[in-house]
């Protein structure tokens, strides 16, 4: 197989993760926040894959599958919540959902 320098491979999930962080912090729309979280989860999964590939072991892919499962569960519940919030607050602005403020 080909050899790509590991540093180059590793920088990709880092960049994706950072972009996801920015998305979560910047976007006010709940859907976008959820999407950004997906980006971060995907970056984490990518990191697992890279680690698995580095050692040539299946464990990385197994962990990625678990991350995938988690993402699926998270999205289904998250989207259901977003639908509820939309009906309740008639907006998707996350700052409007501040009933928990101290």
């Amino acid at each position: 197989m080909t050899t790509i320098p590991l540093d180059h491979v590793l920088i990709l999930p880092v960049l994706l993760f950072a972009l996801g962080v920015i998305g979560v912090l910047v976007r006010r729309n709940l859907v976008f926040i959820l999407m950004s979280i997906e980006i971060m989860l995907n970056a984490a999964g990518l990191m697992f894959i890279i680690a698995g590939a580095r050692w040539g072991q299946p464990d990385g892919q197994v962990m990625f599958l678990l991350v995938l499962t988690l993402a699926a569960a998270e999205v289904s519940v998250g989207l259901a919540l977003i639908i509820r919030i939309r009906h309740r607050l008639t907006t998707l602005d996350s700052d409007a959902a501040d009933l928990l403020q101290g």
Partner: protein, 166 residues
């Protein structure tokens, strides 16, 4: 293969940047799908074809469709996109960007400081993954199934209408 990797990595990063900057939800989602497909390709180049396929099937093919479905169901229209654009002022970007740059720098520094030998991207076949999953990771699989069941029940209950009202 090297070129494939660099190309798809570049596409992934670029489309992710576009994801977090788009005002229109569906556009952002499409870029996210592109990003995921690119990442799937990265998986493939890294010797994880099984993960790559699942990335496409589950992430791009199911999870993102769910997103699209919800966005379409809300059918926010142009007004929402305009407002979304208004929310994205430069000053809002500053803080998170600094944080993200710091994070990237830190992670890059940490990863760089670990002097690892060159990778040997051996292909890990689906069979090996399956054996590992139903061998040492059996408990994790069970937990994941529990999680999915809980998510199923939870999502059903949350989105369930009673007397036509949410």
């Amino acid at each position: 293969m090297n070129a494939t990797f660099y190309l798809s990595a570049a596409i992934a990063v670029l489309s992710t940047v576009l994801v977090i900057t788009r005002a229109n939800g569906v556009h952002a989602l499409l870029y996210l799908v592109v990003s995921l497909l690119a990442v799937a390709l990265v998986f493939f180049t890294l010797g994880a074809p099984f993960a790559a396929a699942l990335e496409v099937i589950v992430y791009a093919g199911a999870i993102m469709v769910l997103f699209v479905f919800v966005v379409m169901m809300m059918n926010l229209g142009d007004a929402a996109a305009v407002r979304e654009a208004r929310w994205m002022e430069p000053k809002i970007w500053v803080g998170p960007s600094i944080l993200a740059i710091l994070l990237t720098a830190q992670l890059a520094y940490m990863l760089d400081s670990n002097t690892m030998s060159q990778p040997h991207h051996a292909i890990v076949p689906a069979r090996a993954v399956g054996i590992a999953m139903y061998g040492p990771y059996l408990l994790c699989v069970e937990l994941a199934s529990m999680l999915l069941l809980a998510a199923l029940v939870g999502a059903y209950r949350l989105a369930h209408t009673e007397h036509g009202r949410l």
